[in-house]
């Protein structure tokens, strides 16, 4: 199961949990599963976050694969200059 970590700013949506385990093969599947666990979190994660999978940061990560031992972090959006 993938280890999903939330920044402190996102924990208001996860009943204060900093980390959960989710069984999913893509980021989309992972968000769907998280939304079932914490209703409403899916929209926030889809709209306002970039995703780090095993240390690599992705934007538009919906179809990125997630492996059984992946470490996934949802991050605040940031802009480069």
């Amino acid at each position: 199961m993938a280890q999903v970590h939330f920044s402190a700013g996102l924990r208001e949506l996860t009943e204060g949990l900093a980390q959960v385990e989710v069984d999913a093969s893509t980021v989309r599947g992972l968000i769907t599963a998280l939304d079932e666990m914490f209703p409403g979190v899916g929209d926030r994660l889809s709209e306002a976050s970039s995703v780090a999978i095993d240390g690599e940061i992705f934007t538009d990560a919906e179809y990125e694969p997630v492996s059984e031992n992946s470490e996934v972090h949802f991050l605040d959006i940031f802009q480069g200059g």
Partner: protein
Amino acid sequence: MAVTEENPGYKWVGTRPIRPDGLEKVTGKARFGADLVLPGMLYGKVVRSPHAHARILSIDTSAAESMEGVKAVITGDDFPDLAANGAHPSDVDVANNTIARDKVLYEGHVVAAVAAITREQAEAAAKAVEVTYEVLPHVLTVDEAMADDAPLLHEGMITKGVDPAPEEPSNIASKILHERGDLEQGFGEADAVVEREFTTKPVHQGYIEPHAAVADSNSDGRANIWCSSQGHFQMRAYTATVLGVSPGTLKVTAAEIGGGFGGKTVIYLEPLAVRPSQRAGRPVKLVMDRDEVFRATGPTSGTRIKVKMGVSKDGKITAAEVWMAYEAGAFAGSPVGAAGMTAIACYDIPNFVVEGYDVVCNKPRVAAYRAPGAPMAAFAVESVLDELARNIEMYAIDIRLANAAVEGTQAAYGPKFPRIGFVETLEAIKDHPNYTTELGPNQGRGVAAGFWFNAGMMSSATVHVNENGTATVVTGSPDIGGSRQSMALMAAEELGIPYESIKPVVADTETVGFNDVTGGSRVTLATGAAVVDACRLIVEDLRARAAKTWDVELDQVEWVDGQAQHVEGAQPPLSLNDLAAKSGRTGGPISANASLNSRGVGAGFSTQLCDVEVDPETGVTRIVRYLTAQDAGRAISPDYVEGQMQGGVVQGIGWALNEEYIHDTEGVMENPSFLDYRMPVASDLPMIDCSIVEVPNPAHPYGVRGVGEVGIVPPMAAVGNAIHDAVNVRMTELPMSPVKVLEALNAHDE
């Protein structure tokens, strides 16, 4: 150059050839945004608010419309009401920043635009537009905006990121929070604790070329736009949104760009040129003057930042607490999110809380500026770290080495770092002669470090082989930092032909596939990867054509030094020139496209060493010598990498010592010119020494990390730490101008 891994035998990558755009620029032939002139073209002029905050009661355009030569006058009512149409809030903000509808939110906010036959007629007509305002109270700083009784810019703004959500609106758009470990325990383990509060002022990106746009609309609803920007695909998307049209109806051509630094990733003029052009049926040109650039574009945030950090006697940081408030200007979207993620990212800290607020105020909407958000946070954190090092009598470099993030360190913002080169930048500084050069009277030395993520995002490239064996490399990434040379060098390396045989071109939105903006230090990485992919497709095609020519299997052909060779030497080699000249016989023109959403972004780190001399009589700080060490991954074009490193440092020195927006009590900017907004010039500065560190990014075909931004993160703290070393005063306000340094010296003496 500090090379940590040997160059694997590249012929072109890492060399310093003549830049491909050099001749046109030094002979004045390069066409920038304001240079275009079309037959029948009208000149536009924008009408701007004189008030920092006011309700628009009425706009009377009748007098302006009746003036000689005037062909069109537009106001906010000439654009779709995106809020009423249920558009995404960020799109509504883009539209309302382009032209105000009901309220003006900063001095310089657009309220109308005119187009006339001559520039003089347009200027006269703009003055004849009569706007009636109800002036409202304004807020200019985070302190004013966050006060309990502050006047609101947006009556419906409820702070995001707070649980439970506030019931009352405020000027705080959002809150961010990062935390790990036990703060109380961390400070309990510390042998030294320092707590300081810092303020920084808004500063402008300071690009030399003002914004400019020309629009030419057709009767079928389509329009051509020429503009100076960091991303013409992005300009197309934003402009289409504001106009309420399909992006496909707009063709945008990127002009040469005279600097952007993040400030040209957003639109200002393009819709204001298209709409009058549609009305008049003629092309319309809009060019800002410097005053408008200052009043209505950029800048980056002013901030207030509080930092408390603790260290043990052996230099280990035991805890860090950071509170930060960033001005967003008139609309939500300051870079406080990135500031929160970067503030302590250089270090492995077990216990921390980083809290940040995005705060709107009555100033221009902030725009990205090189590593947006990170420099202000680094000024605060790196200053406190310097003080902690002094308290425990440890060298500034050594305390950073003791805590440096390395491969596997869990970054403060979440994920574990892959291979990074922070330690190597620290060691490069320590190994440089500047580190041990003797200092003179009133001179001091400061060290600071910085982190930036870098970015990937989407890019496309097309490579054509011409009939004489040369190649054209087409991308859609405006070249603001030398990307054409980098593209050409990588293409030359892949194809095995001379750099001079490659022509790199930046094409319009209808000629090449989509490219995200030139920003985030991403182009050499991402667009470069697309170019490499396209070249490799070309090479596969060339091998197949050689196999066909020789009537052998594909695996009997390899591509070496720009020619097809039979693996057993059974055939005379076929050069790219040979194959190109006969391409019609082997399948037709030789061309390939590649598009990607980039993977494998490599983070960037910079460590800098600054020597200053402070005049105790005047408070003037002179930069004596300056060294910057930065991990480039691989320097495709060392000249341009050094240029980026030096440019970031110079902008940071200006931010540190002189630059600031100054407003009067009515919220009107008092210094909107380069005479009064003091940026450093060449005579203010020594040579900026560069040490390029190369810790290749394993996820990029050439190891690229991106170099455009991180260089601006450390300078303010490096300068401040050097001032402290020179005269023993800790500067906590930017800019560290002569007046402030003198005040600090006088206070210190009392």
